[in-house]
Symmetry: C2
């Protein structure tokens, strides 16, 4: 299948490109390097250097991985995205091309505007490009579990059947997010749902939880193929960050009470979810929504796990509850459904001590290059 | 009260400016003339010439109406909106500054992108400006009944209490719109609700139905103070358009079966709703939502009313069912709640024959300047 990966340089974009190429698909990765630029702006960097797409594609190819094409361009520009669609004629489009960090979106007005503008205009352009050039293509869009927030009822998979005064209606599950970034993903869903109904598009919207991990089947033993691994509060996801904090002897910073519970997944499962979605496309006129995570943890539970495995490693791991710079429920009901991807065949990699140990061991190699001042930035929500 | 009216040149913005000024409020109207420009682009024009804001403010003042200040500027530009807030220090902000036409938003990709970009970036800038310069100010935002679409259950006023598997949660009423324009209003609501929760803003979001009418208490006998009156399919609301079609001897074009039902209101009631909202502000941290209409009609009912009154005028009014260029339910359940504004004191002007007769009589004065080719443009939804 010809698969276009938008945001193909990202933490998940690049491993997805390798994974789908390894499955024999024809892959082109497109990215504007926005995330690299924003990291430089806010003065954070991944734990190790990550080569740019030209080099990564060449390394992958030189190791026998088959061709991954790439293009650098800003997808908010219609001519860029139109050119890509015209030239490549994708049968599936995996859309990761968004400013991905909740704390970045809350940093200041400029960052908020950039997030809003980039995420909405790219998603709109993707929709228009599919309509104009590849109306049969299956669009696989990355949403987030954060769109749902933390309601006091079970979170269903995308939709909610409502009975009201004796009548019935199926709605998009009502969404209420906790950051501007997550709110732009709600808007993306609004936009996709509208155009699916108008233009009979074929869309899968994946409500993904926070991802952790570094290694995938395709990274092999070559560290130059590893994805971004940020450990700062802005671009680093919580478990990745805690692993590096444990190695650095930096207390695990739990915001407030630490009862914040989310659905997590291993990066390997992200790739499997994307592959399963791509290889089992949605129908024409269908907005198919899956909740993409494998198990739920509170922040306290994650901190405890990292502390336990870290202690086995001889690390002195402390847990520190700090004042919560965010506005969020620190204790709440959380019971999200997530059967759709399992039914498509997902075999989860659950978070066990071995997985954590492997991450810790890897981070130990970079112990001396950890910049402690990057870890805790306290981006305030208000 | 110092009241800032964003979009103060529009069909509703200008009459609102006069109305609030007449109530003794200090008013500044800001507009970019976007609507004037878009009308020129798509080659439609109001039934009569409408002076620009400088002239309108001068005429209003010369007739003893008190001062209305104005500024021309693009509110997607932060420096423009920041300057207005800094200089004026509003206590209330009435936000009409959006591309207002559903058919325009469906015209083509460029129009869709303009709508998305303008409406979202202006709303975001308004939120940021309130936060930075006037955190106590009450933001009165124009939403639309179209955000709800036509669900098969009663439409409540902004919110829905859901019981699900024995648990309860109050949500924003789930929204599902029928045009890109209406979808941008959903996104506005998403954005407002997020920042209300984060920043304790004070917001009223008015879900308004289609407005009809020309005359308000303040237009008096001077036609130079009348609002835009578009009768084209793109910028003209349905009843205004039917009135002009009746006068022009142009069949009333009902899309499809004509069972499409909406909540309508007289322009005089719009002004009263805005005034009531402004003079009874929402609390800090409250997103207050009212459904702003006074009565529901199907398109068939409106056509029949115009035909009946037109026939009394000696006009030969035909009703023609044409193929529906839009994608929408042509027969549906529709039972929206709208008690909030009534409880604040709204005294509706219901649509009666006298009101219609006055509109028809007025349009007759301009019979010779009706451009028939503007009426029916058949903007297709897909």
């Amino acid at each position: 299948m010809r698969i276009l990966i938008l945001g193909g340089d990202g933490y998940l974009g690049w491993p997805t490109a390798m994974h789908l190429a390894a499955q024999g698909h024809e892959v082109i990765a497109v990215d504007s390097y926005l995330r690299r630029q924003l990291c430089r702006e806010v003065k954070v960097a991944p734990l190790y250097e990550v080569p740019e797409l030209d080099k990564r594609c060449a390394i992958w190819h030189s190791l026998g991985g088959g061709k991954i094409a790439y293009q650098i361009g800003d997808l908010t520009e219609w001519e860029v995205i139109a050119g890509v669609f015209r030239d490549f004629g994708p049968q599936a489009v995996v859309h990761y091309a968004e400013q991905p960090a909740a704390p970045y979106s809350m940093l200041n007005r400029q960052a908020a505007t950039l997030t809003l503008r980039n995420n909405l205009l790219v998603t709109a352009n993707v929709i228009f490009a599919v309509k104009e050039f590849s109306p049969q293509a299956h669009l696989v869009k990355l949403g987030t579990m954060g769109e749902y927030g933390t309601p006091n009822i079970d979170i269903e998979e995308g939709w909610l059947e409502v009975e009201h005064k004796g009548r019935h209606q199926k709605f998009l599950y009502p969404r209420q997010a906790g950051s501007l970034y997550h709110t732009t993903k709600i808007m993306d869903t609004d936009l996709l749902w509208f155009y699916v109904r108008m233009w009979n598009l074929r869309v899968t919207d994946l409500m993904q939880g926070p991802v952790y991990g570094i290694f995938t089947a395709e990274t092999g033993n070559d560290e130059r193929l590893l994805p971004f691994f940020n450990y700062d509060e802005i671009f680093g996801t919580v478990l990745n960050r805690f692993v590096v904090q444990a190695v650095a002897g930096y207390p695990l910073t739990v915001f407030g009470k630490g009862g914040q519970t989310r659905g997590f997944l291993n990066i390997k499962d992200t790739l499997n979810c994307i592959r399963l979605a791509v290889e089992n496309p949605a129908d024409k006129g269908e907005l198919r929504i899956f909740n993409q995570f494998t198990e739920t943890f509170s922040v306290n539970e994650l901190a405890d796990k990292v502390k336990a495995v870290g202690t086995d490693f001889g690390l002195n791991v402390e847990i520190q509850h700090v004042e919560n710079p965010r506005i969020e429920a620190e204790e709440h009901y959380y019971n999200p459904n997530h059967t759709g991807l399992m039914e498509l065949g997902l075999k989860p990699h659950y978070l066990d001590d071995k997985t954590l140990a492997k991450m810790l061991q890897f981070a130990m190699n970079y112990r001396d290059s950890i910049a402690r001042d990057q870890i805790y930035r306290q981006v305030k929500w208000a």
